[in-house]
């Protein structure tokens, strides 16, 4: 049996409580809304009541006259510079100037002495609108003559991703079996409990500071400078504790951020904004609702020969990172199954709805839902076992996919088998009582993306004379545990404990510039940078200690807060004494820097070809459900998942990530749906937007997740991502389980009791016709 590299771990691999957990559990962590500053004013945003309208006139004089109101800004107070992520998708304005494009679009902002006064002032701002024809359905929006949401987007196409690898037509012609299915997914919100919040300050020397709950503060920093028309050097973004993000608005600069700093400029006071939950659930950034058409050709023995996927996403009023959203769905057609011929035509369409962006898993879950649902249908038609068709097509380590993904570690077969064992699949499948069923689903994810812009991460480490370690990165902890796992990596290298390492939040004036926290990149990219920074600090310390002890630096080992030569007991010094001696006698500051740039590979986003990530991970899961035939309610009675997260560095954190992703996906599959009628969100509250509760889960003994351990050579200490991949197969697993329980095949999300009941009615009618 090969040596397990984890045996050499001293800090990593142990379940380690999150560094800030006790601080948070005792209410002492300071989130943005918890910050109060002397003289602080409170801001509120006025939003468009129209899905599409021209702004004729704004009169804020009555609002300005209200006692307690200090300043009001409208779109024309900003320099009319569109901002956004990519040059071709810059379509945001801090506030609308001449056109509003969805119900909730920001039109004006007030700063007042308290929130009540600010809200009252909003009612006194008179906006004259000229309503314009609006369009809500993406297919209607693509038709000639449809209302145009943005002037420079023919057919309202906000982004497209079109690629073709191999030759699908020839492969379909050679296929023994071809089928096409259509799927539909819904709008889902991030659902984090902390509403967006910020405090803006424009001081009298022109420095613009924003304290804000942000996952990717450097994105905010760039966008803020762009939209304000000032140099990024004049802007400082300070990250507060983040009360959940799951991508979305906490990735970008939002209207509240711009208005906070501009209102501060006008008033000379700090200005705080906190969204109400009704605003959070109405405004942009939600999961893309999609229509997906998937045509698949296979051989008689179930090998996938070709897939052609057409996809139309309802993008809403603005772009966010729409181009990448489309590319990613198609790219993941290449994982976790071998498909030699792939064609993909995806259109993200502007409509007069709240806009879409990233949300845990981004566009991967929708695609996996369609594919793994269809795979089950193919297996049934060909008389294949659902596990067998997955094994038969599983990507193997060393594969190069049709779109150029180079696969390293990829224990997909092992994940399938692990789930088969833990779930008792082979004993249960087809043998469960009526209205009880089990379903299988698989998915895949990446460990950070190589993007066109900023991809690399950096870290700085200083070892202090008390033996503690100051770790500085540009990555954020948003609850996922970056503070802890990155500290553990530094501690492992330096032979100290994780508690000896202090992790900082981002302050763009002092931390290293970083792309941000998204795409499951932090442990992998920043983790590698931290490892290298710690190795550099260790090299410096070894030199100092060697000089002090007249030893060879290469002989020295770092462990237990000491530096020693295992072959010579006389050569031993505490880490802090080495730091002190180095500083006091040599003037040496122990300071290491490390970077990780994931090599020089790139994706050509025009052709879709290229190796997106340094590592990929598969996941599999089985779900057991019980369906109430009277009500159509689905009870999830068992869940067994497995994923190849490489080597889990903090198993306690990995467990929280995979189970959290799983439960979020259960909500996506069964309950969650942001209902829009003519652009109006009908359920902007947690009362009506239904997220999973503790009572919606299986019993703990039937809710399990296994890590299939691999050692990813490119990852820090063998690690890969864990926060998103585990959720990607859950949607299809639930659809397949409901089918197994009831015979009802649902291809539209969420799988509501109403849809299940009408499906049951159809099944009963079909059965009656079959049995005369």
């Amino acid at each position: 049996m090969a040596e397990d590299p984890r045996d050499k771990f001293h800090v990593l691999g142990r379940p380690t409580p999150k560094k800030d957990a006790l601080l948070k559990a005792s209410g002492r962590a300071e989130y943005a809304d918890d910050i109060a500053m002397p003289g602080m004013l409170h801001g509120k945003l006025l939003r468009s009541p129209h899905p599409h309208a021209r702004i004729v006139r704004i009169d804020s004089s009555r609002a300005a006259a209200l006692p307690g109101v200090r300043a009001i800004v409208t779109g024309s107070d900003f320099p009319n510079i569109r901002y956004g992520n990519l040059p071709q998708t810059r379509d945001y304005l801090p506030l609308a100037i001449d056109t509003v494009r969805y119900i909730g679009d920001e039109v004006a902002a007030v700063a007042a002495i308290d929130e009540d006064t600010a809200e009252e002032a909003l009612d006194l701002i008179q906006v004259e609108y000229e309503p314009l024809p609006a369009v809500f359905d993406p297919e209607a929006a693509m038709q000639p003559g449809a209302p145009q949401v943005h002037p420079l987007a023919p057919g309202n196409v906000s982004a497209s991703s079109i690629f073709h690898f191999g030759d699908v037509e020839t492969a379909f012609a050679k296929s023994d079996y071809v089928r096409e299915d259509a799927f539909e997914t819904q709008a889902v919100k991030q659902g984090m409990l902390e509403p967006h919040a910020c405090i803006g300050m424009w001081d009298n020397i022109g420095k613009v500071t924003l304290w804000a709950s942000k996952m990717s503060p450097y994105v905010v920093w760039r966008q803020l400078a762009m939209g304000l028309g000032i140099q990024p050097g004049s802007v400082r973004v300070v990250q507060t504790f983040v009360g959940g993000g799951f991508s979305g608005g906490k990735q970008e600069a939002m209207p509240m951020d711009f208005c906070a700093v501009l209102l501060s400029k006008k008033t000379g006071r700090p200005v705080k904004f906190v969204h109400g939950m009704d605003e959070v659930l109405t405004i942009g950034h939600m999961r893309h609702p999609m229509k997906i058409w998937l045509r698949t050709g296979t051989s008689a023995d179930g090998r996938l020969l070709a897939q052609h996927c057409k996809l139309i996403a309802n993008g809403g009023a603005y772009s966010s990172i729409g181009g990448f959203s489309m590319y990613l769905a198609g790219a993941m057609l290449n994982l976790p199954y071998r498909v030699p011929n792939i064609k993909f035509d995806a259109f993200r369409v502007y409509t007069n709805n709240g806009f879409c962006g990233a949300l845990r898993g981004h566009t991967i879950p929708q695609l996996c839902f369609a594919r793994d649902t269809q795979l089950e249908l193919i297996a049934a038609e060909l008389g294949l076992d659902p596990l067998e068709i997955r094994h038969r097509n599983a990507i193997q380590p060393g594969d190069v996919t049709a779109n150029g993904f180079r696969i390293g570690t990829f224990a997909f077969d092992e994940c399938i088998e692990r789930v088969a064992e833990t779930s008792g699949w082979r004993e249960k499948r087809g043998k469960l009582p009526k209205y009880r069923g089990i379903g299988f689903g698989c998915g895949s994810h990446l460990s950070g993306a190589r993007l066109m812009g900023h991809s690399a991460s950096a870290a700085e480490i200083r070892v202090q004379e008390d033996g503690t370690v100051q770790l500085t990165t540009g990555s954020t902890d948003v609850g996922q545990g970056a503070d802890t796992v990155l500290s553990m990596i530094a501690a492992e290298v330096l032979g100290v404990e994780a508690e000896d390492v202090r992790f900082t939040r981002v302050d763009t004036d002092s931390t290293p510039v970083d792309p941000g926290t998204f795409g499951s990149r932090v442990t992998f990219f920043t983790g590698n940078a931290v490892k290298r920074a710690a190795e550099e600090a260790r090299r410096q310390l070894a030199e100092i200690a060697a000089q002090r002890m007249e030893a060879n630096a290469e002989d020295l080992v770092f462990r237990g807060r000491e530096i020693f030569n295992p072959r010579d007991e006389r050569q031993r010094i505490s880490l802090k004494d080495a730091v002190r001696w180095g500083a006091f006698r040599l003037g040496r500051i122990v300071s290491g820097r490390g970077v990780y740039a994931a090599g020089d590979e790139n994706v050509d986003f025009r052709t879709g070809y290229g190796n997106l990530s340094p590592a990929y991970n598969p996941s599999a899961c089985a779900v057991e459900v019980e369906v109430d035939p009277q009500t159509g309610q689905v009870a999830v009675v068992g869940f067994w998942g497995a994923d190849d997260s490489g080597t889990p560095l903090n198993p306690l954190g990995v467990k929280g990530q995979v189970l959290g992703a799983t439960v979020m996906s259960i909500g996506h599959a069964l309950y969650e749906n942001l209902i829009r009628v003519d652009g109006q969100v009908m359920n902007p509250s947690f009362r009506d937007y239904k997220m999973p509760l503790a009572t919606d889960l299986p019993k703990l003994e039937n809710f399990q997740h296994a890590s299939v351990i691999t050692w990813e050579p490119e990852g820090p200490f063998g690690a890969k991502e864990s926060g998103q991949g585990a959720g990607t197969g859950v949607l299809a697993a639930l659809a397949n389980a409901i089918y197994d329980a009831t015979g009802v095949r649902l291809t539209r999300l969420p799988m509501t009791p109403e849809n299940i009941l009408s499906g049951l009615k159809r099944v009963r009618e079909t059965d009656r016709q079959r049995t005369p």
């Binding site: 006790l22 948070k24 945003l45 902390e194 509403p195 009704d278 109405t282 929280g656 947690f686 703990l700």
Partner: protein, 175 residues
């Protein structure tokens, strides 16, 4: 969207009423407008920001505090109504509360805290649950959490933390 809920033209000191609130064992005399919720007064007037403001309508449980030992959503409770009652927040009573601190430790060590925004409310409901039912079953724990949302953890580690806290708080050898 946002609506001016309360007209309060004129002087900003108009409509103030004096309320005595006993919070964590300390008596505070505050001048507040009568419509202020307990959550607002705790956070804004008393600077006790450990209690979180999230949905504002009693759905998420993040603002849970104990009033005379009973868990309530402080966003739905008028501060004036709490006069004469004993209020305990996540910051805990002066002089400490071993049970509350054990629950906080169990949450921290069992991985029940990710972003932490729901955590103060989860800790307070646990305090109230274990006071009433020191040895809750798994189902009883889940039922107690039904008024609380957590988007990060998927609840599993929260249930495990509550089980751990119950074990740790039980007299030795009794669990």
């Amino acid at each position: 969207m946002a609506k001016g809920r309360f007209a309060q033209r004129g002087s900003i000191v108009k409509d103030l009423m004096t309320v005595s609130l006993r919070v964590n064992g300390i008596l505070h005399e505050v001048a507040i407008r009568p419509w202020r919720t307990l959550l607002e007064v705790l956070r804004e007037t008393l600077a006790l920001t450990g209690t979180k403001r999230s949905c504002g309508e009693g759905q998420c449980g993040a603002c849970t505090v104990l009033i005379d030992g009973r868990a309530v959503n402080s966003c739905l409770y008028l501060a004036a109504e709490a006069q004469g009652k004993d209020i305990v927040t996540i910051e805990g009573p002066v002089g400490g509360d071993p049970a509350l601190e054990q629950i906080q430790r169990s949450f921290a060590t069992k991985g029940a805290v990710q972003c932490g925004f729901c955590t103060p409310g989860m800790v307070m409901i646990t305090k109230s649950l274990l006071a009433e039912n020191p040895r809750p079953s798994e189902d009883e724990i889940r039922a107690a959490l039904v008024g609380h949302l957590c988007r990060c953890t998927g609840y599993v580690q929260i249930v495990e933390a509550i089980q751990d806290a119950a074990r740790e708080l039980a007299p030795k050898g009794s669990y």
